[in-house]
Symmetry: D2
Subunit: 299 residues, 4 copies
Amino acid sequence: MQGFRRIGVLASLHHPQVLDTLKALLAFLEREGKEVLVEESLAGDLGAANVAYADRDHLGRAVELVIVVGGDGSMLAAARDLVHYGVPLLGVNRGRLGFLTDIHPAEIETRLKEVLEGRYLVSERFLLALQLLRAGRPLGGSLALNDVVLHPGKSVRMLEFELFIDEQFVYSQRSDGLIVSTPTGSTAYALSAGGPILHPSLSAMVLVPMNPHTLTSRPIAIPGDSSVEIRLGERRDLHPQVTCDGQVDFCVEPGDLIRIEREATTLKLIHPRDHNFYAICRTKLGWASRLDSESHIER
Amino acid sequence: MQGFRRIGVLASLHHPQVLDTLKALLAFLEREGKEVLVEESLAGDLGAANVAYADRDHLGRAVELVIVVGGDGSMLAAARDLVHYGVPLLGVNRGRLGFLTDIHPAEIETRLKEVLEGRYLVSERFLLALQLLRAGRPLGGSLALNDVVLHPGKSVRMLEFELFIDEQFVYSQRSDGLIVSTPTGSTAYALSAGGPILHPSLSAMVLVPMNPHTLTSRPIAIPGDSSVEIRLGERRDLHPQVTCDGQVDFCVEPGDLIRIEREATTLKLIHPRDHNFYAICRTKLGWASRLDSESHIER
Amino acid sequence: MQGFRRIGVLASLHHPQVLDTLKALLAFLEREGKEVLVEESLAGDLGAANVAYADRDHLGRAVELVIVVGGDGSMLAAARDLVHYGVPLLGVNRGRLGFLTDIHPAEIETRLKEVLEGRYLVSERFLLALQLLRAGRPLGGSLALNDVVLHPGKSVRMLEFELFIDEQFVYSQRSDGLIVSTPTGSTAYALSAGGPILHPSLSAMVLVPMNPHTLTSRPIAIPGDSSVEIRLGERRDLHPQVTCDGQVDFCVEPGDLIRIEREATTLKLIHPRDHNFYAICRTKLGWASRLDSESHIER
Amino acid sequence: MQGFRRIGVLASLHHPQVLDTLKALLAFLEREGKEVLVEESLAGDLGAANVAYADRDHLGRAVELVIVVGGDGSMLAAARDLVHYGVPLLGVNRGRLGFLTDIHPAEIETRLKEVLEGRYLVSERFLLALQLLRAGRPLGGSLALNDVVLHPGKSVRMLEFELFIDEQFVYSQRSDGLIVSTPTGSTAYALSAGGPILHPSLSAMVLVPMNPHTLTSRPIAIPGDSSVEIRLGERRDLHPQVTCDGQVDFCVEPGDLIRIEREATTLKLIHPRDHNFYAICRTKLGWASRLDSESHIER
């Protein structure tokens, strides 16, 4: 594969360590002779370094690779903002393995160098496109890389809604809400709510009901090109919300229609060549490694 | 679509009602002027009616459609036996809706007639091919439409095994076993064990651990063309079994390799035109129908 | 056992049928020659019938039995309001079996008559007493017959809290919250969230985490006389709430302490003599009745 | 509390380290001037040390404390064998924390010394008494400290049975079986099967269905003094087993009755004074320790 010459850099500076990692990254990219564009919101923290700044739009158009310094949350926002530019993303976390960020700050010199020289894996991920409709008219929407979640917002009472898939009625449900997750999101909130893990290469969404009144309501995995529609019930005392990736909120009302479909443009995630989805699962979820006759846990 | 002229008929006569349904079906097919081949094992029960008999092999070669009278269990066996003949299957249950059999005896005159005249839906289902290997040499195998299940057999103790997907190590596990299920099987045993429902059109398998020692072991859905390998641990006091569709058993031993892949030839299930997967889920799983302000259950 | 002579009557008139049932009940009680006190809020709907009205306080002091017409929700509110008066409660639902209300309007003449004559069962239920503390000072509190639920309120992000039982640290958790449920509440919201059923006679509470980040966080049942304390983490962007029985809400803040203990006074629920907890479970949860060789569902 | 002078010692020598730990323990007890009785089956491995040997019966009668060297499995067997002698048990594991064994070999000099001098906690645990009946006549039985499990044995098909609690019919069920667990067993097999954790001091059993056909079949916790009866269905092709603590097996037949009640005599487990149930849960189940703003896992 081809290497990368023009690099964009994003970061969210919630944690002090991120700034250190960011500076180390920029120093490395300068030594490597890369053309670098840094998101302009970082100018205040980085100071008058000899660095070029740009907004996300310019950055998305100009670079061949965007490196995101931060946690999985920063990657989610970057993915939604940049997917339409076609530029691939790479995550450098601030010291912890994530499902989306897999270069440790200490590995910048080695593993990142390899990536920039063209030795890497590409993982295509699809996003969900949320569209809200009130009385048939568009009310707003967003993209989501992980999940679109219908939840009670400030309501205390259970929600009521009807679910349709590809215009077929599926069920009406009373519950705390519904998670519509991509394979990427299946290891995040959907997993806490009892959903299955979907391998990232699967073209599927999974629908996970939250605390359903009917105990037989179970997670359903459906084809990735399905059209999901949720029609909210008419109870007036509810104030539900729809949230994308846990980051973008919309208030909805009784009778509103929530439409979720696969976004046509996919996202390219760049991974080092030894990236392995199952190895990340083992680490993050505490799955056991190889059998060893002495290591049996006697519970 | 084209209608069907040469019809094969299978049945399992465990329940007295099946024989009545079978006779009604044959009378109907005769009235419709179809060429009918009945499985020869039914000759004893049907008597010297003016019916032609054949074994499954001849029947599979000769007919354009096979009608299976019985429950989902009969369909599973028919699917494994006949998939390679390319002949589509249609299930007539003996009085109860099933996930695989969806013509009620009372509907033979109406819905079956429509099917035979060419008005029907086709649902393509894939099967799993199980292959067992001991010290690298083939030990046996079978097909499965629903699932391949590794379980303790007469052992009482937990099994130990390592799981590989597409030659990548996934985890080692101590548990009562593992269910590898097709979408078709996801509403059967895998569901009881906590697995998700997979829409029948999804090209995916789901792996559901049974009572795993590690509480973070969760169901995983993987692409349908994955190669799954389970290597049994070396503990000598275990006598595990591998079972296909709950019907075909194999004894395995420590160190054996269990390989599961998608069978290349797919099965065609024939459904009446109003067949709807979600409607069957609602009926079988007790999901709620349309919202109605008076029907709220106050728990 | 002794019969009841002075009867209090409560009702919530959300559904038109409740008024009909209420009128039928009052007519029956008059025919039986009972002294009846009706909650004064019902005066507007009942009109100038020859009925005596009183507020809940007077009613609680004056009567020997309180009949609640409505669903389980009405019973929950009545239980919290009246437990300290020591007066037993009986529920007449408006047409559907509930876990707390078990006389059908059509049975007033028969089963209610039996109860009033002294033939009944008593089920003692304990309530939870919630106390909120900020910087060590009382902030408010409530009773709960079903459950006390910590949930994100209008927050979208996961909560963080530490759990202590009998002053022993149990765990810190990131989740959507925690349900602390009585046996009475174990068949309500806690069940939807994955909790076990606790038999009503058990002196135990169950703590059910909601969508916990750590997959090994599981429901725990602890002795009914335990002291449960939840210390909210210090994250400033959260606005969690604590809700009793899904009906009484409190806003809490980072650093607040949520203390939950068993209320000393127990509630007496009156049931007809054929009341059976497991029979209600079978009906409400769809558990199978007696084995019958023809009734096997073939899935 | 009083110290212990006459000490019994049991061990299961499946692992080489156990012998080392056993020798260290005996040397320590000799230095402390204790009277020691070692189970006679260990004589072959220990050799002609100046140690007195006895069978379990003599040992149970003669000593004030029994120390079990091994894992939780060894403790389970010792508990069943010795509960009726009234002698308390203490577990020394061979290098790993267990729910039942909580003195590490390295701590013998310190924590065990404290226990022997009278500084310890006592945890009372109840056992289950299993009784099997065929056509009303006793067929056999056993005690269980963890659980009594009905499972398919060498059958492949689901079992069918009816459940009664205190002579009240609860449900009929088709499943892979049922786990009846004490609080002690609730962190063992029952937990893998989806059961709740029961605090050890709770007087309760929990019934956990295994892979039930009916998805609404959920774990139920019932009072510890309940009488549980399972009546096996009449299907002739099943060969179920009943197993106590995963160690003692019984074959049962269609129509047999499985009766499970609390054993009257309780077991005393001895723990070091800093023993803490929740701390063991945190370690064994990976629950998070105190909140720390830097330790948030961003999933």
